[in-house]
Symmetry: C2
Subunit: 160 residues, 2 copies
C-alpha cells in the first residue's frame, strides 16, 4: 500500500502513474482483468460499475458504464492491442461523453518481494485532451479506486 505517484508534465500529452499494492502480481493482474473483480474497485465509490463487454484478447473490445444514484451514467469503451498478460496490457480508451477523443493506456505489473508495482502510461491525441481528462477528476478517481483495490486484495488474500 502506498500513495499513487502521478506525472503529467506541461506540454506533454501523457500521464504516468505508479502505485504499489501489498499483493502478488498474479492476484493484482486478476483484479485488473476479471470482470467480476474489476467492478468491485474501478473508479470512485459513488459509482456502480456495469460491464457490457470485456473480451480480453488482441483485438477484443470492452465497454463499461459508471452510474450514480442521481441517475447519471457515463460510458467508456476501447479495444485491446496485443495479447494482454501480467507483463503488460495495451488498450485504447474513449469516454463516450467526449467522442473521438481517444487515449492509449499501457499497464505493467512488476512483482517486488510479494508486493506489486502497477504502472500506467496514458498517451493522448493532444495536450488539451490530456488536460481535460486530468481536470475531470482522473487522479481522484484513480486514487479512490486504488484504495478500494487495496481492500479487495486484502479480502482475496484472507479468503485464500
Amino acid at each position: 500500500m502506498s500513495d499513487m505517484q502521478i506525472t503529467a508534465e506541461p506540454g506533454v500529452p501523457q500521464v504516468l502513474t505508479e502505485r504499489t499494492f501489498d499483493a502478488p502480481r498474479g492476484l493484482v493482474y486478476r483484479a485488473f482483468t476479471e470482470p467480476d473483480l474489476l467492478v468491485q474497485w474501478l473508479g470512485p465509490r459513488k459509482y456502480t460499475m456495469t460491464i457490457d463487454r470485456y473480451d480480453l484478447r488482441a483485438g477484443g473490445t470492452w465497454r463499461y458504464v459508471h452510474a450514480d444514484d442521481a441517475g447519471n451514467a457515463f460510458g467508456f469503451h476501447g479495444v485491446f492491442h496485443g495479447d494482454p498478460s501480467p507483463d503488460g496490457m495495451v488498450q485504447t480508451f474513449e469516454f463516450e461523453g467526449a467522442p473521438g477523443h481517444v487515449s492509449m493506456d499501457t499497464v505493467t505489473f512488476e512483482e517486488e518481494v510479494g508486493r506489486t508495482i502497477v504502472r500506467t502510461n496514458s498517451v493522448f491525441q493532444s495536450v488539451e485532451a490530456r488536460d481535460a481528462m486530468v481536470s475531470s477528476g482522473m487522479e481522484y478517481g484513480m486514487k479512490e479506486g486504488y484504495e478500494r483495490l487495496d481492500d479487495l486484495l486484502g479480502k482475496l488474500i484472507a479468503n485464500r
Copy 2:
C-alpha cells in the same frame, strides 16, 4: 500535391503530419482503406507490401509485411478503435521488430475544393520510442509513399 509538413517537437512523444492531395476526399479515403489500393503506395518504393489481414471495423485487426529484394521482411500490425470513416480513423500500430512499443495513429481527411488534406497524429509511449521511429526513416518512408499515392490517385481519376 504539396510537400508534407511534419512536426515532432523535442520532449513530446508525438508526430503530426499534413499533406494535401489533388483528389476528392472519398477517393483518398478509398486509397487509405482498400487493401488492393493500399499495397500500391504505402511506404518506400523498394518494398513489396503484402497484407495478411485488414478488417476495417471497430476492434478489427490488420497486419502487413514490407519485403525487399534482399530478402528482408518487416511486419507491422495493429487494431482499429471505433468505426473508421472519412471523418477519421484511429488505430494502434506496432513494428514487429520492436515488440511492445505501440503507437496510436489518428488520420483525418478534410476536403477543400476538390483537394484533400490528410492529417496524421501519432502518439507514442515515450519520447525515446518516438525518436526511434523518426530516426528509422519514418519521414522519408511517408514522403515517398505519398508521392506514390499522388501517382495512384492520378491514375484512378484518369480511369474514371
